[in-house]
Subunit: 311 residues, 2 copies
């Protein structure tokens, strides 16, 4: 299997853009027609609605974007049935050729970290068999626990050529409480970025990118240039575009001059860009996806990738 960053880079080049569609299903935002179809007073009904909704979103966006990012929390909120839905959604995304980032922000130590990572990537080994669980291309993780915690995730990821995205500077208003604390003249998030650079350089692909990237909120344009500079070989995943207030222009500094090196994520801003009573919601999602791609292409170096693609 090819190196994670090579698969990601190929997918971005093939689609001519680096938009990631976030899959954050919420019952109260789903199209009313879907809620009516599945409402049966059980969590399994809600989970089935999530599954159909996300799969129809995937069918709309798969020809347009290279990457999708299901948010684990919203599936967990439907319990075990929600985890069934998450598996089905990830399976469909793979079948559609999409690169998948499972947004779980997992973190733990030693064999517990390995358990999360094996679930995310290659699967669990039981006696002579190996059983895949989420089988995602990449997982978001939180590095507060330090190097040996991240190493456990990395070892599992590298056994099956998967990737990690480490939280560096998050998109929320209170992110700075700890992430901005300065040591030796550098804020904590830059210490984490430097560690990400060390990890990603351990395993560079033919694309020149490594298999460990950084998560940096699109809501923090001022911090992006220094993070981009500190992490020349790492992909930067930018949540916060759209509903959280990040604009296409805010993401510009995350991209390299050649248009690679960043992935901009929009979730609600695309998947719930219409009122619940909308019947033609798939058409609305398609239009919005194309619009966000155009905005990113106009406002960032990503636009340079488009000339390679027939549109």
């Amino acid at each position: 299997m090819n190196h994670f960053a090579d698969r990601l880079t190929a997918a971005i080049r093939s689609k001519g853009n680096a938009l990631c569609v976030g899959l954050d299903p919420r019952w109260e935002s789903l199209p009313i027609a879907l809620r009516t179809k599945y409402k049966d007073g059980t969590l399994r009904g809600a989970a089935r609605a999530f599954e159909e909704f996300c799969i129809r979103v995937l069918d709309v966006v798969a020809p347009l974007v290279p990457v999708v990012k299901p948010q684990s929390a919203f599936f967990e909120l439907c319990g075990p049935a929600g985890m069934d839905a998450l598996q089905a959604v990830l399976r469909r995304a793979r079948e559609k050729g999409l690169v998948t980032i499972l947004d779980g922000k997992r973190n733990d130590i030693a064999s517990t970290a390995t358990a999360y990572a094996d679930a995310a990537f290659g699967g669990v080994r039981i006696d002579d068999g190996v059983y895949p669980i989420w089988d995602a291309d990449a997982l978001t993780i939180n590095a507060y626990l330090g190097r040996d915690s991240v190493s456990a995730f990395l070892e599992s990821a590298r056994r099956s050529a998967r990737g990690l995205f480490v939280l560096v500077r998050t998109s929320n208003p209170g992110a700075g409480q700890f992430q901005d604390l300065e040591t030796d003249g550098r804020p904590l998030f830059m210490h984490v970025a430097a560690a990400v650079q060390n990890w990603t350089r351990e395993n560079l692909g033919q694309s020149g990118f490594g298999d460990v990237g950084a998560v940096v909120g699109a809501t923090h344009p001022c911090e992006l240039p220094q993070i981009r500079k500190a992490l020349p070989e790492g992909y930067i995943l930018l949540p916060g575009l759209g509903a959280q207030g990040g604009t296409a222009a805010d993401t510009a500094a995350a991209f390299r001059e050649d248009g690679l090196g960043a992935i901009a994520n929009s979730a609600r801003g695309i998947t719930f860009c219409y009122p619940p009573e909308e019947r033609e919601w798939e058409a609305r999602i398609e239009t919005e996806t194309r619009k966000v791609i155009d905005e990113l292409a106009a406002a960032t170096p990503m636009g340079r990738l488009r000339s390679h693609v027939s549109t």
Copy 2:
């Protein structure tokens, strides 16, 4: 429903000790008889083995200890069937009157944090119904994302009188990479501890303890006195006892003089304290649990709680 810290304190007083048994099921460590019974080449089989194992552990330890802590990662490693097992294990623990801490180390922002917290605590609201998922008494979280992230978890917890344990200083060898970085003469973990103190003081119970505690590895006895001092109203959860190398004496400084204020967790060291071929494994677990309680009582102020209990 009573305040979380009051329920926890009452449970500790009632049992006369503050030992928490960690439920970290691993296929390769399970008693061979259980593996043979459930091995059918599916994850559902493995999940059923986890469920029976954990429930039999609960039946052994429920009369002896106040708290149990299932580790989410090992259940997730069996996929959706594992999450069914986690639900069954948490349900049995509640029925047995145990305080339950779900060890998920969750973290995210805004409504995503709320989704994890609602799953852990009061359940998901769908139209007019509320559906519980894990229904745990407390959840471990990672505070790297800062105050508004933690607030989202807290608001959900307080709606149903549950608690949080925030990672402060973890038990792994590389924990210091970020947690020890100093700002204004204090390491990062002490900044987190100070924040935990602010959060816990927002909502003190009649026991005098708040509903937000700290996770501090039992493997870091040197850091415990300053954390105990910085967090006079917060419970300290100490993983790392036993298999990770922490001793009963290492936990002493986490307890207040009156024997309250800390919970010491041992997982593998108790639940897998025998070779897999052992047939009388429940008796071995009971003996080991009593032994660890005796060690804690001898080596820490926790021993002062025992005189109140008929043994």
